[in-house]
Symmetry: C2
């Protein structure tokens, strides 16, 4: 048996594992550096990209015809959370620093279809975003900043934080957890059900892993 | 310089690249082979996993109180498409072989919140799935098979295809494209807007890439 042959037998598997580890670390590293909320150098929020591929959490509808034609947010609310913060929420039941929640509105296209009467979504209307950041919004309730990117299809490239009153009034009055309307977001509730939502410091790793018995999805 | 040292200098980078390539190919291979619809050996559909992280496409609501207490599908429809088929739809405006569309229902938790009157989702109710497969459903309209996994939280592990009449009646009567209610799914319409939906053979690659001017997301 030659020296080369011996070296091969030793070197191949070691290097293959090392190289695989490096590739894995590069992939993880890229994901970890990716913040869903990006701000320009004047502190305005840059419109998030790709949010329609984020995790959808729920869809309240507040139609104009149920609000004397003056709904605050007609009509359908497509509400999303960025995937990294969703993964954190699955594990801890908490919204981490940097959480981005997107609310894209769609109007009502119809009130009848072959499957019955109801409200059926049509076209996009408006894009609004909330970002949780103790660093940027130290004095806002829950450290949430709220942003409005205007009307579809002419969403603004950037948006400045809105005054606290304009959004937080409703969130403070009615939202179940940390100024988020989790009572209307079954996807979030299912993701942390059976897990301690209020006291992450009491979190037992073994008890509340990624897959637990109560969750069917 | 020893033979080993020479071997190292030659072998290390080559193997590192080869190993990285292999890992990359394995990752790509896994993604490419991953069909969203999996069937058991009796031909029953295995309940899809992870669909709450798929691409949400729209959320009609057909409340019982708008249907004399007898809505066919109360209440909120959380409708998703598997990510691979969504990517195909973005490019071509067509649903490819193997498309999986999930409809998870959520009941109505409230009709009032600080933001106004409306319908607000509560808990999950039922899981239904449609799979497009010419191979498995050669005689069904559009090659769609329909499945019902029953009631939350006791979704079945597998489901057999339902008789054509039980689902296709509504889809045939009212769905805008290929038995899918695309008129109620703004996310799908935005994904292929400005692209040729009906004649993929006329598709010009350069004109209709991943990012085009008309789409704001």
């Amino acid at each position: 048996m030659s020296v080369l042959s011996n070296v091969r037998r030793f070197v191949f598997p070691v290097i293959a594992v090392a190289a695989a580890g490096t590739v894995g670390a590069m992939l993880l590293g890229a994901a970890d550096d990716e913040r869903a909320a990006k701000f320009d150098n004047k502190g305005a929020l840059i419109r998030p990209e790709g949010y329609r591929k984020w995790v959808f959490i729920g869809c309240p509808v507040t139609p104009n015809d149920m609000n004397n034609g003056k709904a605050a947010f007609p009509e359908f609310h497509h509400v999303y959370i960025d995937p990294k913060s969703f993964a954190h929420y699955e594990k801890t039941g908490q919204f981490p620093e940097g959480t981005v929640i997107v609310k894209e509105l769609a109007n009502v296209a119809a009130k009848e279809s072959p499957s019955g009467a109801g409200y059926f979504p049509g076209d996009f209307v408006l894009l609004a975003v909330a970002v949780k950041s103790a660093k940027r919004f130290p004095n806002e309730p829950g450290n949430w900043g709220y942003f409005n990117f205007g009307e579809y299809p002419n969403y603004a490239e950037t948006a400045e934080a809105l005054p606290t009153d304009s959004c937080n009034g409703c969130h403070q009055a009615g939202a179940q957890q940390d100024y988020v309307f989790t009572q209307f977001y079954p996807v979030l509730r299912a993701a942390h059900q059976g897990r301690p939502a209020e006291h992450p410091e009491h979190h037992h790793h073994g008890e509340h892993g990624e897959h637990h018995g109560g969750e069917k999805q």
